[in-house]
């Protein structure tokens, strides 16, 4: 008699043959599925970018309108939250850097480390987290409901290219929004954080705003923008993909929404890790 706990069962399609595999196969199965997901994601991004060229004359004003709506819902409506989080995190990190590093005899590194950690590592990732929590979910639910209500089918019937009309504006809107919010986050964390911490008396006297600005080199700015750009594309594409994966039932919408959030988070953390590792080799201490 087979031990069920040591086996996994694959169901390729409804009514299809069931394949029972040993439990050691589970991680490989999971990995294969995730690689398949990433490949599908790349395909979706390729198709929507290609539609920019192949279908460039189709519905330009409509696509532009959807992009602006997406930027409004994602960036403009998240401004207050982003500034609040940025000021709080900026003030806290500057306080800790200015107080703790001198204790270890490293007072000269306080501003440099603040720039490196706060702006390069934390800013794009925090903005990505805010966007995933606020907008990624919303996109999956919007597209999922369109699928359930037959609106996606109606668009296909009208000859409207979904990659151009549904996916592209959301990826572009998301990318623009994450990039704008990351720049806003950095500015708010830099000035807001500094002056808040300064006013609250949390900073040592030798911790200067000018030094922070001097340490914010072009390399770091490009690094921040690259991360924001990548996160925007990933969040937009993952959300659209999960929305389009809804088939017929409204119960699939929340399931896909939660999978979309998990996938967006995972991919953003992995991307952040890869980019950090890539740039770390070029960092001079």
């Amino acid at each position: 008699m087979s031990n069920l706990s040591s086996e996994i069962t694959l169901k390729p399609d409804a009514g299809g043959p069931q394949l029972t595999l040993p439990s050691w196969f589970a991680p490989a199965h999971f990995l294969g599925r995730e690689i398949g997901f990433v490949l599908t994601l790349f395909k979706l991004i390729y198709r929507s970018v290609a539609s920019m060229f192949w279908e460039r004359r189709r519905g330009r004003s409509l696509v532009r309108r959807v992009i602006l709506q997406q930027v409004y819902f994602t960036a403009v409506q998240s401004t207050a939250l982003t500034v609040l989080v940025a000021v709080a995190m900026g003030a806290l990190l500057m306080h800790q850097a200015s107080v703790i590093l001198p204790r270890f005899g490293l007072p000269d590194f306080a501003e440099w480390l603040t720039v490196l950690i706060l702006f390069r590592e934390i800013a794009p990732l925090t903005v990505a987290l805010i966007i995933i929590a606020r907008s990624a979910n919303a996109i999956v639910i919007e597209i999922g409901n369109m699928r359930v209500n037959g609106e996606i089918r109606a668009l296909e019937v009208l000859g409207i290219n979904l990659d151009r009309f549904i996916v592209l504006p959301r990826i572009v809107g998301m990318t623009v929004s994450v990039t704008l919010l990351t720049v806003l986050f950095c500015a708010a964390a830099m000035w807001g954080g500094f002056w808040t911490a300064h006013a609250a008396g949390l900073l040592e006297s030798n911790f200067l705003l000018e030094s922070l600005l001097e340490n914010l080199t072009l390399d770091i700015i490009l690094n921040i923008l690259l991360r924001a750009f990548c996160f925007g594309i990933v969040i937009g594409a993952v959300s659209c993909l999960h929305g389009l994966w809804v088939r017929v039932a409204s119960t699939e919408v929340p399931q896909q929404a939660s999978r979309g959030v998990v996938h967006s988070l995972s991919l953003c953390f992995i991307l952040n890790f890869v980019i950090s590792l890539w740039f770390f080799t070029g960092t001079e201490v």
């Binding site: 519905g59 037959g150 000859g159």
Partner: protein, 256 residues
């Protein structure tokens, strides 16, 4: 007369009921063809295959005036070729499904204007002119600023018809066009379709499980049973009592 659409030895897989096989017919320009069935038949699958929305398992559909439809069914065709073929086909056809499916976050006006704006992106004055004309013909002016959720089923169906007609298609597919709608809406639908058939030679394929509904519009009716054509009725055979008697006779013979 010239053919607007020709189906040759068409076989179509269905979601329920027997698959279609050996479907042969020619839809002439300006003709209104009714499609109905005896027993369980997935008429929507047939309409979708004719409209290029579902892949047929065998046979061909030839659209008049469309040379490059092959790319749609050719696995080796590039994505770009498929886009082009699909776009060409969709601009030739209008399709009103039984579920209507207007875009919920757009007003009736924007729903109707959507295909025109997407495919041609003309100046707003042109969009307004064409959209207003259709809204007026289909008595949708009072609800032009409303979202679909606020409309009755009859008004939704009229709005869907306006959206399907805005690109001046050559063939219009209607899936159960009169089910669950009021008599006024049904009359408006018939008069607008008639107007387009006479004015621009619009050909119509209307499918319904209720043969009585089809009769109000069609000049020829194809009857299916078990996925095959069992009768084609036209002319005097479409006189209501004769038509219904014939349908009843077919039902009785296939039941036995």
């Amino acid at each position: 007369m010239t053919a607007a659409l020709t189906a040759t030895a068409l076989a179509v897989p269905t979601n329920h009921g027997p698959p279609f096989k050996d479907v042969d017919f020619v839809l002439e320009k300006g003709e209104a063809l009714g499609v109905t069935s005896i027993g369980l038949t997935d008429l929507r699958a047939l309409l979708e295959a004719l409209a290029g929305l579902r892949r047929a398992s065998a046979g061909r559909v030839i659209w008049g005036g469309l040379p490059a439809l092959g790319a749609l069914y050719d696995d080796a065709a590039s994505l770009r070729e498929r886009y082009r073929a699909l776009r060409g086909l969709r601009r030739l056809m209008g399709y009103v499904s039984d579920t209507v499916s207007l875009i919920n976050n757009l007003t009736v006006y924007d729903n109707v204007a959507l295909p025109l704006r997407y495919h041609f992106d003309p100046p707003e004055r042109t969009v307004e002119e064409r959209t207003e004309r259709l809204l007026s013909m289909l008595c949708l002016e009072p609800v032009r600023a409303l979202r679909p959720a606020a409309l009755s089923l009859g008004a939704k169906r009229r709005a869907a018809l306006a959206r399907a007609l805005i690109l001046d298609p050559t063939v219009l597919f209607l899936d159960s066009p009169f089910s669950d709608i009021d008599n006024d809406s049904a009359e408006i639908l018939v008069s607008v379709v008639d107007h387009y058939a006479k004015k621009v030679g619009l050909s119509v394929i209307a499918a319904s499980y209720d043969p009585r509904q089809i009769l109000t519009m069609a000049s020829r009716v194809i009857v299916f049973h078990g996925g095959s054509i069992v009768a084609t009725l036209s002319g005097e055979a479409l006189e209501e009592s004769r038509f219904l008697a014939e349908i009843a006779r077919l039902q009785a013979s296939y039941r036995s």
